[in-house]
């Protein structure tokens, strides 16, 4: 069932790629092939592969562990870039590591300590020692 769905998505993606390739406006003919041909072939392969998967699906066992933990890490990862510039590397990274540490079964206090430590260690290592500028945040640290 999952294979059929994956196949369908791939086939649609392939069709989309071919359609997009045909809409490309080429100002001049630099070479006999142009930029359209290659995406068209790839789209063809995707459609073919998708159809094979739809017609001859194999058994896929989707195993999910404790997926809420992965989701927590994911949400923290998505918020991280939004916070990075406003609050600076150390605070944002400590927050990311704190959530991730909780997701990896840490208790709150050790998680907080290790998260802050990780953020400071990486800041010192990258910004101070290796001279790669990281966002400073409002406090200038």
């Amino acid at each position: 069932m999952i294979d059929r769905l994956v196949g369908l998505i791939c086939a649609l993606l392939g069709a989309g790629a071919i359609w997009h390739a045909q809409t490309l406006h080429v100002p001049f003919a630099a070479d006999p092939v142009g930029p359209r041909m290659f995406p068209t072939i790839i789209g063809g392969v995707l459609i073919l592969g998708g159809c094979i998967l739809m017609l001859r699906p194999g058994p896929v066992t989707m195993e999910f562990g404790t997926w809420p933990r992965a989701l927590a890490v994911l949400v923290a990862s998505l918020i991280y870039p939004l916070l990075l510039l406003p609050i600076g590397f150390i605070a944002a990274t400590a927050l990311l590591c704190f959530v991730a540490a909780l997701a990896f079964h840490a208790r709150p206090l050790p998680a907080a300590v290790s998260a802050v430590a990780t953020a400071i260690v990486f800041f010192v290592l990258l910004d101070k020692l290796l001279d790669l500028p990281l966002p400073r945040g409002p406090l200038g640290i």
Binding site: A17, P35, V45, P81, C97, L126
Partner: protein, 505 residues
């Protein structure tokens, strides 16, 4: 023999203080990262890749570092296999079969020692073979025209499909997706925007470092968070230490495994996991007297040797032909390309300091690894005691810090996470990530050669099949594509792997 002279000049590059320090950092970090369960060579290389660019390391130094991480992780991986019975990546499943029983019987230290020696024999012999084979192979490829390259790349994709664990069609879908991702951005030939959907950020295409980190760091952490791999560290034990007689006893097995591993490594598409599986199976067939699987030294030495020989072997086609033999070498090829260096036949004449400096550094690196892994192995084993909730959040933070350092853009972090989500879904539905990575790296070369060939013939497709080399390569590709349809090669025995869907890491 000019290989000696070239190698000597390579040592002059590799022995500069910076390159020595970087080689040491690479192999030590590689061993450490390789020792962590769930994190393999490709993750190690991906993690440090952005830092190489952000620090603006010279190309030979960056590659010495990345290569050190690669073969260093081949040494480190055995630690969790032997002590925890957890293979860190598919290439290490075989190491657990005889390694863990040895550790349980109290001979953990001996098991770590013999596998360390095996890794050294495999790694070093493969570097020696590489020293003498790379240039002849590159000379052979000098005569390759664009059409031959197109055929060669299609063949290496086809071999990926043959060797993958899942369905071959899913490998093909992964290849197509990788090629499609590489299409995003401005087309080099005509300046036309493709698949950018009007977005300014996508004009330059999907960034290679973001893709690598997304595929092999973010997705990996999501997987690890979801189902913790856990285990009990069995002590290194106080059983009998490794004796000299045992080393000699294992030597034939190691040499056989070196040959097999190197050969399989050089073949595009077959990585270390296939090599170690085949070396174990072959060794079992040759010398098993009912002791394999119960803690036979040779059953441990063979796959570990083959694993390292294959890793080094897979660097040969990457350097000499510009076609990577495994996922990790694909990442390294991408690193070459970001330095505007095209690996391939001309690398050895145009940038000898990069090519030979890298090869020379691998002699030094393997020696360093022997020292790091025999007396100091306990240090790395202690890494297994660091709790997951410190390690993995740290890896995640380092990934994002690296992407930010190289791009200076918070938007790039969102793209990286997006790629991570996609990679997570792809792995769940059984679409392998390595072929996707390989295709992404090769896409530009493939399209350029394709268009160059057709320019030569003014649009006639017969040029793709016009040389004897290309015809042979196309025929091999057809066989490789057809083979999985006829029968499924059973290279992987029924052993649970820590993470499926990562063939040839």
């Amino acid at each position: 023999m000019d290989a000696f002279a070239a190698l000597l000049s390579g040592f002059q590059v590799a022995l500069t203080p910076l390159n020595l320090a970087v080689a040491f950092a690479g192999v030590a970090l590689g061993t450490a990262i390789g020792a962590l369960p769930g994190v393999g060579p490709i993750n190690a290389v991906a993690l440090l890749l952005p830092l190489c660019f952000a620090l603006k390391l010279p190309p030979e130094t960056a590659l010495i570092l990345l290569a050190g991480l690669y073969y260093g992780s081949g040494y480190g991986g055995r630690i969790s296999s032997i002590l925890l019975n957890i293979p860190g990546d598919p290439g290490l499943v075989m190491t657990t079969l005889d390694g863990y029983p040895l550790a349980k019987s109290g001979r953990g230290a001996a098991a770590l020692a013999i596998s360390g020696i095996g890794s050294f024999v495999g790694g070093t012999s493969a570097v020696i073979l590489m020293t003498f084979l790379a240039v002849p192979l590159a000379r052979l490829a000098l005569s390759f025209g664009p059409a031959d390259y197109v055929a060669l790349m299609v063949l290496s994709f086809a071999l990926l499909g043959t060797m993958s664990e899942g369905k071959a069609v899913k490998t093909w879908i992964a290849v197509a997706l990788g090629l499609l991702f590489a299409m995003v951005g401005v087309d080099g030939g005509t300046g036309v925007e493709r698949f950018t959907f009007g977005s300014l950020e996508l004009l330059g295409g999907i960034d290679f470092t973001s893709l690598t980190i997304g595929l092999f760091a973010v997705a990996e952490i999501l997987f690890l968070a979801e189902g913790m791999i856990s285990g009990v560290v069995s002590r290194t034990g106080n059983g009998a230490r490794l004796s000299f007689r045992e080393i000699v006893y294992c030597l034939p097995a190691m040499l056989r495994a070196t040959g097999l591993g190197f050969f399989l490594g050089v073949l595009p598409g077959t990585g270390a996991s296939v090599a170690s599986a085949m070396a174990y199976t072959a060794e079992k067939r040759i010398s098993d007297k009912g002791t394999f699987g119960k803690g036979d030294m040779r059953g441990l030495a063979a796959p570990e040797t083959a694993d390292n020989a294959a890793q080094t072997g897979s660097m040969v086609p990457m350097l000499a032909l510009g076609i990577p033999g495994s996922g990790t070498t694909a990442v390294m090829l991408g690193a070459f390309l970001m330095y505007s260096i095209t690996p391939g036949p001309l690398l050895f004449t145009q940038r000898p300091e990069v090519a030979w400096g890298l090869i020379a550094s691998m002699y030094i690196g393997n020696l360093m690894l022997l020292v790091l892994n025999l007396p100091l192995v306990g240090l790395f084993a202690r890494l297994l005691l660091v709790p997951a909730w410190i390690l993995y959040p740290g890896i995640l933070a380092l990934s994002y810090a690296g992407v930010y350092a190289v791009s200076n853009s918070a938007f790039e972090l969102i793209i990286t996470t997006g790629i991570g989500i996609l990679a997570y879904i792809l792995r769940k539905v059984g679409i392998p990530l390595i072929p996707l990575m390989l295709a992404f790296v090769l896409a530009r070369l493939l399209e350029d050669n394709f268009r160059r060939a057709l320019s030569l013939s003014d649009g006639g497709y017969e040029i793709l099949f016009s040389t004897p080399t290309s015809i042979v390569l196309w025929l091999l590709a057809v066989v490789a594509i057809g083979l999985p349809l006829i029968r499924k090669p059973k290279l992987h025995p029924a052993v649970p792997v820590a993470e499926a869907g990562k063939p040839g890491a």
